[in-house]
């Protein structure tokens, strides 16, 4: 049913910390691995060992350079997958009902048994979160590891998306953004989490924590006294040394 469900209190999603992501692509591959073996058709690869290799990935890490008005440019690694929008345009455009948003937790999924592979949902998504798998002909997207997060065959601590479990630097957080007291909501609150392309009105559930201010080492005034010379040459230094050693 491609109407959006009634608003739910539970909004499961990811919080991605751009101040901590080192761009290692761990999340990209663990996602590829889990989702190739699990939910729906495998994520295929075309021309895998050839001239133009390409494949289906549900999560990709971009790298950007940001040039502040003053000072050095910054490099920012930017993982991107489905943001599980509250007003998900990909859902309402679907002609078959394959694309839907779950009523109980807000996860946006594709029912591959109903998908005709028309690609319109990918067109409707501003974020590039949906990729049509060339081998299966159906639309693939982040499932927020719906087959992990409730999976009773997994130990409780592993019931989180594969990308979150694997992230070495801890730049990915999973939780209920509908609950103001959840850890993820608090993180968003403390760090000023933001929406991507808010002007399009999609109301993404996933939030991004902006990088902390960088290269702001202008505390020389506070620090300068620390470098007041005790001597400028060897003999003076050794004299200071003798005096100081007496005291310790």
């Amino acid at each position: 049913m491609t109407a959006l469900p009634p608003k739910s209190d539970v909004k499961l999603g990811l919080v991605i910390d751009l101040d901590t992501c080192v761009g290692c692509h761990a999340c990209v591959i663990s996602c590829k691995g889990w989702n190739t073996e699990n939910y729906g058709a495998p994520l295929s690869d075309q021309d895998a060992y050839g001239e133009n290799p390409s494949g289906t990935f549900l999560n990709r890490v971009h790298s950007y350079e940001v040039q502040p008005e003053q000072g050095t440019a910054q490099t920012i690694h930017f993982p991107k997958s489905c943001l599980h929008c509250e007003d998900a345009p990909c859902v309402t455009v679907c002609p078959t009902g394959a694309s839907y948003k779950r009523a109980e937790d807000g996860i946006v999924l594709v029912n591959e048994d109903a998908c005709i592979g028309c690609g319109l949902c990918a067109w409707a998504c501003p974020y590039g979160a949906r990729e049509l798998d060339k081998a299966a002909g159906v639309m693939k997207k982040c499932t927020l590891c719906v087959d992990r997060i409730y999976n009773e065959n997994l130990p409780e601590e592993d019931r989180e998306p594969a990308c979150v479990r694997t992230c070495p630097s801890g730049a990915r957080h999973f939780g209920d953004l509908g609950d103001a007291n959840s850890d993820v909501s608090k993180l968003v609150q403390e760090r000023g989490g933001i929406d991507l392309m808010p002007e399009l009105g999609t109301k993404p559930v996933n939030k991004y924590l902006p990088p902390r201010p960088k290269d702001t080492g202008n505390e020389i005034d506070i620090l300068a006294p620390l470098l007041a010379p005790i001597a400028t040459e060897t003999s003076g230094f050794l004299g200071w040394l003798d005096r100081t050693l007496e005291r310790i």
């Binding site: 895998a48 440019a73 040459e233």
Partner: protein
């Protein structure tokens, strides 16, 4: 209207079984859970219990499934049938392969064992492969440390008995300011990422010192875009500023370092610059309590940093006095180094001040009692929460050893090594250089070598020289050209063997070393050396045996190929005798075991060596009756003992409960498998810091078998063995350097680190490579998932050079060095040192290798900088060509590359365009839809 939605099975079965083993997708060696479905590998994730990665896993690790199904896997032993380099082979049986190898090697061993050069590359079993080489009796063994890490390892061990790389770690839980220098993102990578995550969570400051702002440097709170090769200059300026301001830890220096040790300061003495020692050979200090000299380790003394004494007309002053003379000099002032470093003077001063601020005004103190080696009890552990980490970026320079040493000096004057918040060693470190072995090279026909090949020299008497003064080793390690080359010089083996200098060899036997491609400087030259023939039409290097699991570029150059198993199909041990996986708080080791059986006619290389060793009758590989001693590598891992009670694995010894020391336990591997593939033994809290001087740690280490008796020692700010080499160069002693090296040895072997470099104005631009986090060496390309992330490698160009050349995205450039030229695609990067260009390492591939299509982007647009680098420097005025390496350790100076760049019309493909080699394994399938479960 009711909302209806499809029903999803949210609890599908995950796998039939989880098999826990150790990753081998890079050098990090994380624990992995291999999920099996129907006997096949279905999914790989990190092992939460494992000490290295605690559940996380990088891109490479998660892509392991694509490595064990890679079409590039070799399938059977191969015998060369075409010309070397062509890739023409026939498949042969293991019996035939082992017969070919053993008959040839038996002759070499009976005739002259030094005619075998056995070198291993990304080997994680060096204690075993060196054991085999010792049994064979050739002095010519080393792994790849000489072109990878030796400056860092040797500088660390000579200075403080332990090094960066994966052998130590910042105190992630307590440090408040962390400075990261030139870190390669493929060693200890998950622990570093996890550590950075911890720092970010706590809001500690991260400073990245690196010409390139990617990866870890991207998240650094402050990026210092230093000019390559000037780290030593920058660090000595920090030392200068801190000393000048008196912001140094005098207590730490006097108690735990050789700063108060007395040096002979009479320039006319033949002991000038050596330590004053007592009859037991213990270095002496002046005790401030008495004003008298005393052995450094005497209980209750207060070693005087500014002591002096005159004995028989010879004055002696302290190491610290020498340091003051050296580092107080205005040449080290921030103002005098700023321009060369590419760092503003104020920035250098501010960073020095920040270090001082955090170290001394944010001191931390843990309420933990401990007793030092002098017997003194301390009620708490004082910490200086500044920490440092560094890797290849600062070490792969001709001044790398001294740069690494300078960084250790900086850490030590701040009192921030082995203290809370500082830098911590991982067992078996800390360990003084003096209790490591010395190099051994005594060989004779049909005899094992007289001891381990590699070690630490402590003076000219330890050099591996023959009676006539020529090099005993084919790579000229431990000679006057590089007296402290503790890891050997793998990068010189092929060129020396080709030149017959110091002598010719018969067989070059290599393992996992892609020497004809990305693991050599001067790639084209190496390919020629491997295929050159003499006047009789015979190959100059007569016989090449190579073992690898995959169809690498080097396979094409072997006469005999021994196909290895992949990491999920074999036994291995990650041993404390080798490159351990310990944590600062724990000793740990691990195994690999065959979680799947090979589907090809391949064997684990170490098991093949057990077989080959027995066929050759190597004494350490046969029983008394001459039968094969170790059935395979697993048998060796369990049953071999280095010393009674000490084996490759420290866990589950004896009856299964002994750790460290204990009898052989036939069920040891099962115990490891039961325990998740690893063993870990935690260090008690009272032994957790101050380890070199902490008796609780020393005793724990003896119990674990790390050494045989407590061995506390002082940090060596001043490295006396270097002074011994210098003294020889000044004409003292009976072992003298050759005249052409005398000046170089004297200049290079400075016992206190100072910075030096050379410049060539025709080639003003620094050229570097970095390893992407998602790839390891050349391995990533055969991996269908990873190669999509990095299938080509543009040359990144900083704004200044970009604009000066009028480059646009999509343009190509010709890059020239004194040695060669390449034509490659360029791309712009603003967050880059303005005189530096760089690219990702080892993405470029030779056509026909790795089972890829010959039109693969890696082979047409990917490229290597290696073509621009020579293993020798351009000729000097005297016509001599010195090695392009550190004159102390011989480490390959990859990062000294200087180039010129110009825009050119786009060629069809990158140049040089090396012709294809024939693939011995064919090509991979077109498309992949990999799902093993139903």
């Amino acid at each position: 209207m009711n909302y209806t939605q499809p029903v999803v099975d949210t609890s599908p079965k995950v796998s039939d079984e989880i098999r826990k083993t150790t990753c081998y997708m890079c050098a990090c060696r994380c624990g992995i859970n291999v999920h099996m479905k129907e006997g096949k590998v279905a999914y790989i994730e990190g092992n939460r219990d494992h000490p290295v990665n605690k559940g996380v896993l990088c891109a490479k690790g998660s892509a392991g499934i694509m490595q064990v199904n890679a079409p590039s896997r070799l399938r059977s032993p191969l015998k060369r049938v075409g010309e070397r380099g062509s890739g023409e082979f026939e498949e042969i049986s293991w019996d035939e392969a082992l017969e070919i190898a053993s008959s040839r090697l038996a002759k070499v061993r009976a005739d002259d064992p030094s005619k075998l050069a056995f070198f291993t590359g990304r080997d994680q079993s060096q204690s075993f492969t060196s054991f085999w080489a010792q049994g064979f009796g050739t002095p010519n063994y080393a792994a790849h440390g000489g072109f990878c890490s030796v400056n860092m390892a040797a500088a660390g061990i000579y200075t403080m008995g332990g090094a960066f790389w994966e052998f130590g770690q910042p105190d992630w839980d307590h440090t408040k300011m962390f400075m990261l220098f030139g870190v390669a993102e493929d060693h200890d990578s998950n622990p570093i990422k996890m550590g950075l995550g911890k720092l970010k969570k706590r809001g500690a400051k991260v400073v990245g010192v690196n010409p390139i702002r990617t990866g870890y440097n991207a998240i650094a709170d402050e990026w210092v875009g230093i000019t390559p090769g000037t780290d030593g200059l920058f660090i000595t300026a920090l030392i200068h500023e801190l000393m000048k301001a008196g912001k140094i830890d005098l207590h730490y220096l006097s108690q735990y370092t050789n700063a108060p040790v007395l040096l002979n300061s009479n320039p006319d003495s033949d002991s000038y610059g050596l330590f004053l020692r007592d009859q037991d050979g213990k270095p002496l200090v002046i005790d401030r309590n008495t004003g008298q000299q005393a052995a450094f380790d005497k209980k209750g003394i207060k070693p005087d940093l500014n002591g002096s004494i005159r004995i028989a007309g010879t004055s002696h002053t302290t190491v610290f006095h020498k340091m003051a003379e050296t580092y107080m000099s205005p040449e080290h002032d921030a103002a005098n180094v700023a321009e060369r470093c590419g760092i503003a003077e104020e920035t250098i001063r501010r960073l020095a001040a920040e270090l001082a601020h955090v170290a001394f005004e944010q001191e931390i103190s843990l309420p933990i009692e401990w007793t030092d080696f002098r017997g003194e009890k301390h009620s708490k552990m004082i910490g200086r929460p500044v920490s440092f980490h560094a890797m290849r970026g600062i070490s792969a320079h001709a001044n790398g050893f001294q740069t690494c040493r300078a960084l250790h000096i900086l850490q030590i004057i701040l009192g921030s090594v082995e203290v809370p918040g500082g830098f911590r060693f991982k067992p078996p470190y800390p360990k003084s250089s003096e209790i490591h072995p010395k190099p051994h090279y005594g060989y004779a026909p049909n005899k094992p070598l007289d001891g381990p090949h590699l070690g630490f020299t402590h003076g000219p008497e330890d050099l591996a020289l023959k009676a006539d003064g020529t090099a005993a080793r084919i790579d000229k390690a431990f000679t006057w050209e590089n007296p402290m080359s503790s890891h050997g010089l793998m990068h010189m083996v092929i060129s020396n063997a080709h030149a017959g200098d110091p002598y010719k060899i018969d067989t070059l036997f290599m393992y996992m070393a892609n020497m004809s491609w990305n693991s050599s400087m001067n790639t084209g030259g190496v390919m020629k050396m491997l295929t050159d023939k003499d006047e009789n039409g015979d190959y100059v290097i007569p016989n090449i045996i190579y073992s690898d699991a995959y169809s690498s570029e080097m396979v094409a150059y072997a006469d005999l190929v021994l196909p290895d198993a992949t990491y999920l199909e074999r036994h291995d041990c990650i041993s404390m005798l080798d490159r351990p996986i310990c944590e600062a708080d724990a000793a740990a080791d691990a195994i690999r075991w065959p979680v799947i059986e090979p589907d090809r006619d391949v064997r684990g290389f170490q098991s093949v060596l057990c077989d080959l060793g027995a066929r050759l009758g190597l004494p350490n590989f046969i029983n008394e009756d001459g039968s094969q001693k170790f059935a395979d590598y697993a048998d060796y891992i369990v049953n071999h003992q280095r010393k009674p009670g000490i084996g490759p694995l420290a866990g589950f010894r004896g009856d299964g409960t002994a750790s460290g020391r204990g009898d052989v336990n036939p069920d040891q591997l099962d115990k490891y498998i039961e325990n998740g593939g690893f063993f870990v033994e935690h260090i008690n809290e009272d032994a957790s810091y101050y380890k070199p001087w902490n008796m609780a740690y020393q005793e724990w280490a003896v119990g674990m078998g790390l050494f045989d008796a407590p061995s506390p020692y002082l940090f060596q700010l001043y490295v006396e063995p270097m002074r011994k080499f210098q003294l020889a160069a000044e004409g003292h002693g009976d072992r003298q350097p050759p005249e052409h090296l005398r000046e170089r040895v004297r200049d290079a072997m400075q016992p206190l680190p100072v910075w030096s470099n050379s410049t060539d104005e025709n080639f003003p631009i620094h050229a570097l490579t970095q390893r992407p986090m998602a790839m390891y060496h050349s391995w990533g390309t055969q991996n269908a998932w990873l190669r999509q992330i990095h299938g080509v490698n543009p040359l990144y160009v900083p704004t200044k050079i970009w604009e000066a050349n009028g480059f646009k995205e999509g343009d190509w450039a010709k890059v020239t060095s004194p040695h060669g030229e390449i034509t490659v695609p360029v791309s712009h990067q603003a967050a880059l040192n303005e005189n530096t260009i760089w690219t990702w390492n080892a993405i470029g591939k030779r056509k026909g290798a790795w089972a890829l299509d010959e039109k693969a982007p890696e082979a047409t647009k990917g490229f290597l900088l290696n073509h621009l680098i020579h293993e020798l420097m351009p000729a000097k005025g005297d016509g001599m060509r010195w090695a392009n390496s550190d004159p102390i350790t011989g480490q390959a100076a990859w990062f000294d590359l200087k180039v010129a760049i110009e825009k050119v019309d786009a060629p069809v493909e990158c140049e040089p365009n090396i012709p294809a080699q024939k693939s011995p394994v064919g090509k991979g399938p077109k498309n992949l839809t990999w799902k093993v479960g139903s």
